[in-house]
């Protein structure tokens, strides 16, 4: 997904580092090996970037300058102009199961702002410090997402569930993940990871109180990613 943009901007001083937030590293590796990217492609099964940068959905991007200063904190990041056209085709296809069609129909309503995002990125790569998209440290911190008591507690619950999942106590993980979902309902990475391990299409299961389609319907697919504030 990022390879073409990386090839364009790497000669001008930008590196793209992708980090896969997959509890199961193999699930990410299959995708990466198909693409064979020439930029660093990392796997974060312990979910370090959630905690360190405040990632709440994917794809999310962070800009870091030459000195190691964050100049734009976590925000929706996509190089695409629209959702994949095959989603619409599958949503309309009678052979696709009804529940999956509903999910895909919702997914096609997601707002993707790839043009705006890559435009801003190109501006920063060209102009550096003079780019208006580069934010001062106080704004970077202020825009970095809320982490009060509930969000910090949610992070701890998610981490504990993930540890139990990894260490062979998969039966004990969901109750901690459910608590993380309750404490920070707008963190989609906590929900989608847990849902996807119970059902690949993230549909309703006995383990969790809600599912992807249900939660997206509540907020409206156009609000699934917050509008970019460039």
């Amino acid at each position: 997904m990022w390879q073409a943009l990386r090839n364009e901007l790497h000669p001008r001083g930008l590196e793209i580092v992708t980090v896969a937030l997959d509890v199961n590293p193999e699930a990410a590796r299959v995708w990466i090996e198909q693409i064979k990217p020439n930029h660093p492609s990392l796997i974060d099964s312990a979910r370090r970037v959630d905690e360190l940068f405040g990632v709440v959905n994917v794809p999310n991007g962070v800009w870091i300058d030459e000195d190691g200063t964050i100049v734009r904190p976590v925000e929706p990041a996509s190089p695409e102009r629209q959702t994949p056209p095959e989603w619409q085709r599958m949503a309309d296809h009678p052979d696709v199961p009804e529940q999956l069609r509903e999910t895909l129909k919702l997914a096609t309503g997601i707002r993707i702002q790839g043009n705006e995002y890559t435009g801003a990125l190109r501006d920063w790569v060209a102009k550096g410090r003079a780019s208006g998209y580069r934010l001062p440290p106080a704004d970077v911190i202020a825009r970095s997402g809320v982490r009060g008591k509930a969000e910090a507690q949610a992070a701890a619950c998610f981490e504990l569930g993930t540890y139990l999942w990894d260490s062979g106590r998969r039966d004990l993980a969901p109750r901690h993940w459910r608590e993380a979902h309750r404490l920070q309902p707008d963190n989609w990475t906590y929900k989608r990871q847990a849902w996807s391990l119970a059902d690949p299409f993230q549909g309703p299961t006995d383990l969790y109180d809600s599912c992807w389609a249900e939660d997206v319907k509540k907020i409206g697919p156009e609000n699934y990613y917050p509008r970019l504030n460039l």
Binding site: M1, W2, L14, E15, V17, T18, V19, A20, L21, D22, A27, A28, R29, E33, P40, L42, I43, D44, R48, L52, F53, G54, V55, V58, N60, G61, V62, W63, I64, D65, E66, D67, G68, I70, V71, V74, A77, G128, V140, I141, A142, S144, G145, V146, R147, G148, E151, A152, Q153, A155, A156, C157, E159, L164, S167, H176, T189, Q193, S196, Q202
Partner: protein
């Protein structure tokens, strides 16, 4: 961070959380929080860190495992300095984000799900 007891290894704590431990204080970016003077002790008490740094401390009763969460200081970032991030790449080689100093970096989080 996951703990098998309430004793926290200071080096592991620094590596895992990005907080730097100094005599009587823990600092991250421009923020410093005083800690009781435990100079000379090899381990920190998770309850003390939890209370002073606003880090949730939770417990799984079935496995007797603890988890000390991130600091609740209002925002996900307490400083605009990028934290160190060391992760394996998809071939299993360790990669440090700091190795890219001197270049601009776009860090993208994604997932297979």
């Amino acid at each position: 961070m996951i703990l098998s007891s309430l004793e926290v290894d200071p080096k592991e704590f620094e590596r895992r959380t990005g907080w730097a431990l100094k005599p009587e204080a823990a600092c991250k970016g421009e923020t410093c929080v005083t800690l009781p003077d435990d100079a000379g002790s090899a381990a920190l008490d998770a309850r003390t860190l939890s209370q002073r740094l606003g880090m949730p401390l939770i417990h799984d009763a079935d496995t007797d495992v603890w988890c000390l969460g991130p600091e609740a200081m209002g925002r996900a970032l307490t400083t605009a300095r990028a934290p160190e991030l060391i992760l394996p790449d998809y071939r299993g080689n360790q990669f440090a984000l700091s190795s890219l100093r001197g270049q601009k970096v776009l860090l993208v989080a994604w997932a297979s799900w």
